[in-house]
């Protein structure tokens, strides 16, 4: 393997990890922090991608697509939390079954409306094409943008969790939900806001991911599984852990494809099994 090849695979792993981070950070908020088992997270990704695409088709403006994808996923997520999941707090099996059922229904509705063909966004001119890059000369601009977007999401989440009252409420709610309510905080409203925020990140991932690679039926399952693995490897409820998990999974996929393409699909799960065996709470997770 040449050094150029090494750098290319590293960059591909990093940029794929960045996309995974954007999607999985929303999953980490909902599953890791609020302890809501949301098996429809991939569906929120797909809702963001498809509804973003409708707006993109109409306006030909990629930034409007981003706004539409995030809003659609956030609204759908908030409705899910208010109408279904809010009533099942702490009942993981029920949450899992309801969200799996919901994801099947929504996937069918999206299939009926958008058809089964793969769709893809074209990023705006500023993000299109290639940018000069050391060693490998040129690298796709949009992939570099993915890293920037992931860093922005990570910083924003860190600021929300550590510098805002909402963040204090989220962290306190993770520790002792009942006591937080006894302090006068409407915990159910906090849960809706967190779910909407996590869903919006899935929607953002839908449009960004749909610009990097085509999306269609089945993409939801792929991103749900990836988000699960990222959060399990990185540690539940830790944004830093999610970033580490996303980079590990992104790298594993890209290096697997580069070195042994036939078996690359199992690498991610081997890593997950290894982490579960050695450190069950994940790399950055707290022991329960």
């Amino acid at each position: 393997m040449t050094f150029e090849m090494f750098v290319t695979v590293m960059m591909n792993g990093l940029t794929l990890g960045a996309l995974y981070f954007i999607v999985a950070s929303g999953f980490s908020l909902i599953f890791g922090l609020m302890r809501t088992v949301n098996m429809a997270h991939g569906t929120l990704y797909l809702i963001g991608a498809y509804l973003g695409y409708s707006v993109y088709d109409l306006t030909e403006n990629w930034y409007y697509a981003i706004a539409a994808g995030m809003t659609a996923a956030a609204v759908f997520g908030a409705i899910m939390q208010v109408t279904l999941l809010g009533w099942m707090q702490g009942q993981e099996l029920r949450q899992a079954l309801v969200t799996i059922g919901l994801s099947i229904i929504v996937a069918d509705q999206l299939l009926a409306h958008y058809g089964g063909l793969s769709l893809q966004f074209f990023p705006p001119d500023a993000l299109f094409g290639a940018t000069a890059f050391p060693i490998i000369e040129r690298y796709p601009t949009f992939r570099l943008f993915q890293i920037g977007a992931a860093v922005a999401v990570g910083v924003a989440l860190w600021l929300i969790l550590n510098r805002t009252k909402l963040g204090l409420m989220i962290r306190a709610g993770v520790d002792d939900r009942e006591m937080l309510a006894a302090m006068g905080v409407r915990v159910s409203l906090v849960a809706v806001v967190v779910f909407a925020l996590g869903a919006a990140l899935a929607g953002l991932g839908g449009v960004i991911g749909g610009s990097a690679q085509p999306f269609s039926q089945g993409t939801d399952v792929r991103f749900l599984l990836t988000s699960l693995v990222v959060v399990i490897v990185g540690g539940m409820g830790s944004i830093g852990g999610t970033a580490i998990g996303a980079i590990i999974v992104g790298m594993a996929e890209q290096w697997g494809q580069a070195l042994f393409p036939t078996y690359s699909v199992i690498v991610t799960f081997v890593i997950m099994a290894a982490v579960l065996a050695v450190r069950p709470q994940g790399i950055m997770g707290r022991p329960s």
Binding site: L168, A172, D175, D176, A181, A182, M183, G184
Partner: protein, 233 residues
């Protein structure tokens, strides 16, 4: 201020509260009783954290039974729970910022730090890093910052060193003097009678008696019958 009438609570087959009647006015009231008599369940019932099966709980003339805990807290009741239950992930300062509602209220973060200087020294420490006494101060401070009309304190002296308990008694008496309603749930008769002039005794889910603290202090037979101990702080 708070009127509790014929409150019943069932936990599965167990009839934990069996018709509790209690009235709390502006004077602080101590609720004492042995372990397992239903004191904590009554606190949780008032806060809406336990759903009662029958009865009425009125606060300042309004029925609060059946309301959510956050609603009850916003109506002016605060709980200092048994075991402190501070948030391990939050620092002292974050605890206070979480609850503080602004500067034009009687209790502000600044006033809390003046009242509990030890918390000011530990403001960057996490809830789990504090000693038992510091956690108790934080739990009280957190409750005060909601600027309640009534504070329910569930065994605040539990597990604290005697010198810390003495300091706690001074703080609670000052709070009572400021006109804040206090329901002090205690097993420590010394603390209860130091802070409150009246005590209610809870026995197997009922209020067995309400009397001046001095009367209970002087009646060793009643102490043995209801509490199984004699009074000493």
């Amino acid at each position: 201020m708070l009127e509790i009438k014929d409150v019943h609570f069932h936990y599965g087959q167990a009839h934990v509260l069996q018709g509790v009647d209690l009235a709390i006015g502006d004077e602080p009231l101590a609720l004492i009783g042995r372990n397992g008599m239903g004191k904590t369940t009554l606190c949780h019932s008032i806060m809406g954290m336990a759903r009662i099966s029958r009865g009425s709980i009125r606060f300042q003339g309004t029925e609060i039974q059946g309301r959510r805990p956050d609603h009850i807290a916003r109506s002016g009741i605060a709980l200092v729970p048994q075991g402190r239950r501070v948030f391990p992930s939050l620092t002292v300062d974050e605890h206070l910022r979480l609850v503080a509602k602004g500067r034009n209220r009687p209790w502000t973060i600044e006033r809390v730090y003046e009242t509990f200087p030890r918390l000011a020294e530990r403001k960057r420490n996490g809830g789990a890093q504090l000693s038992g006494g510091e956690q108790q101060m934080l739990a009280i401070a957190r409750a005060l910052l909601t600027n309640p009309r009534l504070v329910i304190m569930d065994e605040p002296s539990e597990g604290l060193a005697p010198v810390i308990v003495d300091h706690l008694c001074i703080v609670l008496r000052d709070l009572a003097k400021s006109g804040m309603g206090i329901l002090l749930v205690e097993q420590n008769l010394g603390v209860a009678t130091t802070v409150c002039d009246r005590v209610a005794v809870m026995v197997t889910g009922r209020i067995a008696a309400t009397m001046p603290s001095q009367d209970l202090l002087e009646d060793e037979t009643a102490q043995r019958r209801w509490l199984g101990v004699s009074a000493h702080a």
